[in-house]
Symmetry: D2
Subunit: 422 residues, 4 copies
């Protein structure tokens, strides 16, 4: 048994299979992957890692299992899955997930391979657990998969509180102690007990307030887009066989699969050492970020753009750059997917029936509407060319804007926090 001191949950007791998994390179690697990626450029204290988050998720899983009365192998399996649920993350966590997914077809919760080999597989087997069943839990499969990856999972309970602790933004301070006590299974579904509509709502509200303030803060989005571009260059391996004066690499042999197993240090240094990425890397290192040339609401953006795939987006960028008369790397088009809200399908018991929160709570529709009103398409560029890029983008993308190119309307914390941190 091992006891670890955590800044959020205080003492975490770690035992059994989790104790043995802890010392594997696969889990230790998470120490070098920042939980919130580029968000630390906005909130300087947000340097927490996937490692401490994984410990926290493991801890809450243990508490939930105890309240649910689950023991033995089933509990071991869930505990292993809780500790391992993020080992599939590449550097900068979610920031680059699209980049690698497009090339590997894998999201971070697709961990079959990772669990089926090496020390992790050995440890699991030693404890009588099948790697594929643990991987299934990580992917949210089955009754207990809901606890690890579902609308009411312990993952989000930990990250909301932890991200609040480390950013200093209080909106994420949910009552996780209550949540883990109120979980129960009804007909195989993980639900909150009678009388917890508001407990479920509080989880939803916490995410809704953290989203624009923290997770989708405009400066974090800009930095993430720059990181994404740089990483695309890195993967494209713009090799010319030569070596530049400083001895740095002008080509790379990094492919997406390699990238996924790197950590933040590897990627940051690779970006610094590669010709094609050096400028982006310098800007990220010095927090010399691109600025918003366009920041457009969802109603002003043609549907085709919102649904555009990576190839089309890349073409739009080139077209805008061409129209604006700027180098191609001076234009980044950032189109988030349509808003979604998984918590709306959380289940609560109401008068003895199981209901979806979305049917029960008027808040769900309101928060969904808020998400729509906060959605923004961004076009980013170096400050000096912001104006021409903005106008070129409006023309190229067919945006329906006739006022200012930066729409702050109903824009939550964006405007002010930009004033804070840009």
């Amino acid at each position: 048994m091992k006891i670890i001191k955590d800044s959020v949950h205080d003492h975490i007791t770690i035992d059994g299979v989790a104790r043995d998994l802890l010392d594997t390179p696969t889990v230790q690697r998470l120490r070098s992957i920042a939980q919130l990626g580029t968000v630390s450029l906005v909130y300087p204290s947000a340097n927490h890692t996937r490692f401490e988050h994984s410990l926290g998720v493991y801890h809450l899983a243990c508490e939930a299992l105890e309240h649910l009365g689950v023991e033995g192998t089933q509990a071991d399996r869930v505990q292993a899955a809780a500790l391992l649920h993020d080992v599939g993350h590449g550097p900068f966590s979610h920031n680059l997930e699209d980049v690698t997914y497009r090339r590997t077809g894998r999201y971070h919760d697709d961990v079959d391979d990772l669990l089926a080999s090496g020390q992790v597989a050995a440890v699991l087997e030693e404890h009588g657990l099948e790697p594929e069943r643990v991987a299934g839990l990580v992917a949210g499969e089955g009754r207990f998969g809901q606890l690890v990856s579902g609308e009411l999972d312990v993952d989000r309970m930990d990250y909301l509180v932890r991200d609040a602790h480390h950013t200093g933004v209080p909106y994420g301070t949910i009552d996780h102690g209550r949540l883990v006590r109120e979980l129960t299974f009804v007909d195989g579904k993980l639900v909150l007990r009678e009388g917890n509509v508001q407990t479920a709502e509080s989880l939803l509200v916490a995410r809704a307030l953290m989203n624009p303030t923290v997770y989708n803060h405009s400066a974090a989005r800009i930095a993430k887009a720059m990181l994404r571009c740089a990483t695309e260059h890195l993967l494209e391996g713009e090799s010319d066989g030569a070596e530049d004066r400083s001895g740095d690499r002008t080509e790379t042999d990094i492919d997406a699969k390699t990238l996924q197993r790197m950590d933040d240090h590897d990627l940051i240094v690779a970006l610094r050492q590669t010709d094609a990425t050096r400028e982006f890397s310098r800007r990220l290192d010095h927090r010399d970020l691109y600025k918003r040339a366009v920041w457009a609401e969802i109603d002003d953006v043609p549907g085709g753009i919102i649904e555009a795939d990576h190839g089309s987006i890349r073409e739009f960028e080139l077209e805008i750059a061409d129209d604006a008369g700027v180098p191609e790397d001076s234009v980044i088009l950032d189109v988030p997917g349509r808003p979604s809200m998984t918590e709306s399908t959380s289940r609560v018991v109401v008068n003895g029936d199981i209901r979806r929160l979305g049917h029960q709570s008027p808040l769900v529709d309101a928060l969904r509407a808020a998400q729509y009103s906060q959605w923004r398409l961004g076009v980013y560029s170096p400050e000096a060319v912001r104006e021409q890029v903005g106008h070129a983008a409006v023309r190229t993308l067919g945006l329906d804007i006739d006022g200012p190119l930066i729409s702050e309307t109903r824009d939550g914390l964006y405007a002010t926090l930009d004033q804070f941190v840009e």
Copy 2:
């Protein structure tokens, strides 16, 4: 200058007129008035007082004034009003406000008389402040009255955070540091600067989550209703001239005006020492509370009942008791007013225009709907007669209930917290 250590804001520096007001009996009395009245029967740590809250409001007012660039006499006046804003409270704060208002026509923010006499008047005048203007600010009058008593006042910023700290319920942890920085005046109206729709929403959400969980928790409402009944008896002074064996008073000479100047100790002891209130007092002291006989949703209650005045309510209680065959004190009818949401009129700057939050945020309507769905009429009685009282109440009040008499539907934290604390 004096520095006071506060558990919420750490060091509070108190100076000038506020420093001198601090030592007046009028302000010191607030040490003996619990901020949340009977809520401490649900949350045992919630023993904070109006005194520390008043210091907190003063502190936030100073910060807001500094950010607004207000100085001199105007600032003094606001600071005085902030420290004095609650001196009009009677024992148990809001719990008995209806009882005294019915007899005196005064709410707690009607403090003209209190400020115009005694040491408070002397201190104000010594500092060149007119008591009636300070009282005006407490009542929310004028430009700066909005800061003391309005939709965006520092009062609620303090109480949300303080109540969260002392109950342990995290929902009230708003970002008050941000709120006081983002206030500004536009055309004489106190508003939040551009980009703060979500800051305003977070205030609204905090109240919406604290309401059913803390302020209107069913057990706190029952205890409040019992306290109200007992106090009515006390004021009715059921005098029969005799003195009972224990030497305790069988009559009282306490009228509503006297009551308003009492503190919690005075009232608690008076209830203990008076024949007519001794049973309620014993129950409150031992937390032997009445139970809910009926707990009905707004749609199941005839409009006439919702609008009924105190006299009609009293008649209904007698009628129900008669129908159920129980003593008259065994029935308490508790009808809250129709839900309201003052924060919905908060003003925010959006694209350069001032807008009402209610027009800007889809959350406002959702939270209003939530309030309606959480509204409950309560009929309370001793546990032993719960059943017959419940059925008598349904008949007497014409409630439209054909299932269980206790409706937990969409009932937020009620059901579970009752399990917690009843």
Copy 3:
């Protein structure tokens, strides 16, 4: 099972015998006894009660028992004792313990009678527990008595953290999570496991820093001394048979045994309503405290004074008043006992041996020396007569002072905090 939300330990689960004891009047009464008595006159947020503290002690006892592997009746007995450990307190907790002890021969931990009768006895017996054995644990008897009342008891673990939370003074924030995990029994003695010398020291240091800053703050000591005097008058029952104009009592029938069962409300109101105590009561209510006329170090005070009993002290007061030409109530002599430090006998395992912390840690002697240097004899009086009382006291008591009468030398936080709060 009941779950209670606590501002310090979050959710406290209360079950079994403790669950049933919770609803007894004996335990509910603790809601109306302030944990720190007059300290709230210095730290306005310190309004927490013996009730929430008792819940906290119960909670830590449960955790310690779990780590120690204790179950069954033995665990029930300790849990009952933890919840009941403070039921013997009179109003204002320790503040008046000397006053009642002198008349009843009982300290607050002498609870045999209280547990052997009424609802508490009934509940204990129902759960198969003998009241006298539970009372024995409260008094610190036997193996498990050490956990409830000893050098390493859970009582001080809770109060240090709780008092820090409510005063805002951070010095009490010990690592209670670690402490309860590191307890073990060796040869029937409760000790801290190998490697915890510093854990033990941290407990000692926390108390050493909280003492002068909080528990013995000079203003709290003055208020306590005034309260003590007033209560002596109350118990002396200066009856003259008459009733004054306002109908208030000019005599009282309160004896020490009655006093011990009163709560803060009862005593505060009794002091207000009694002629002989009305002036002290007014001063305490309005925080119009006496001032220090003398504040003398231990080396300047004759040994006979330090050891003087209550009768002698009273005589000294009269003599000083006479010498100074002031009314007798204008002089209060406050002589604390010689410093003691129970934690110095905490046991820790070092290299396999059990050692007393006092033999192991150089800190113990240093903190003991600090206690001596912080010790002060106080003589208090109304501000107007401070000077003559001070000089009369020096003469009467034979104090060895030739400089200023208020010695701040090596006086910790006194001077500055007095500046803060007087």
Copy 4:
């Protein structure tokens, strides 16, 4: 003006010269230097950086300057120094300071060169500040240098609280709000006002408790020693001209000056990519640490060893390895300097005189004694050869040990925390 959200001080307002310095590469680089180096291998949440700490120090400096009434250029200079005080740190902060000092003669507070060139110099000059005077403040020179680097500097006020927040160890929670208010200058010396002996002591105690628990935790010391060895190899540049199969570097061109300007990412990747350091790097990445072969008290170590310079230490290591028959990298000798306690020279005003805390407080000697008793010489090796290395070390170093080689006597939190985390 910029406002930054900090997890410790909430909102930090940054203005003037500090605002402009913030965006320089020199300051932004601090984002990539961990505040506590290898401590995060013991406390997984301790991932905070020199950047957020520097913001915190700047913030406390502003508060102190305001309380001291310092304005204008003098204040600008101190604020610049506060923000820049750590820019001289190399990767892993203090962990490698000895390694670079031996080669460059510079400690991290020797920043003349760094401030005299590049963007920092430009910004300073633009604001009318001389770089060399700001560098002087960083080095602790002059009246105001005491505020930036001295016994009562704001540096330690920030790091104690911040390290407590991020490790979860509560011992560092000092009352910084009080400290910055109580600072004053007397005869050019920065002192704490009358009545603050205990305030000064609390600072001392906080460090004394954080030292063995956090800063000198044995596992953190082992990891630091391994990092130091690896870095020595890196600097020794064991070049053989060849390139290995994986294309990684077998030689390095990194010298000490280059190292000092690298950040954590650069160093971690360089260690991974270099043959001579790959094994240490793997062990650090996977937390597969050496174990203690010897852990000896100060009285058991010959004086010559304690004073030995780097060359002699290296020779001892080779000798021990030779004696034990293990490869030379399998032995690390870790000899801390003699304990020191700078806070003991803090100045406090006592009865109007300025005194050194060391003369005033019995705690200082006690804590110094505790430091001596906690001092340990360590010899580390891979677990498999621990035994033979231990015995060889005792022989080679002439240690006076006849019992176990690991002395836990009076060893604070070591033993147990090792159980926690090794």
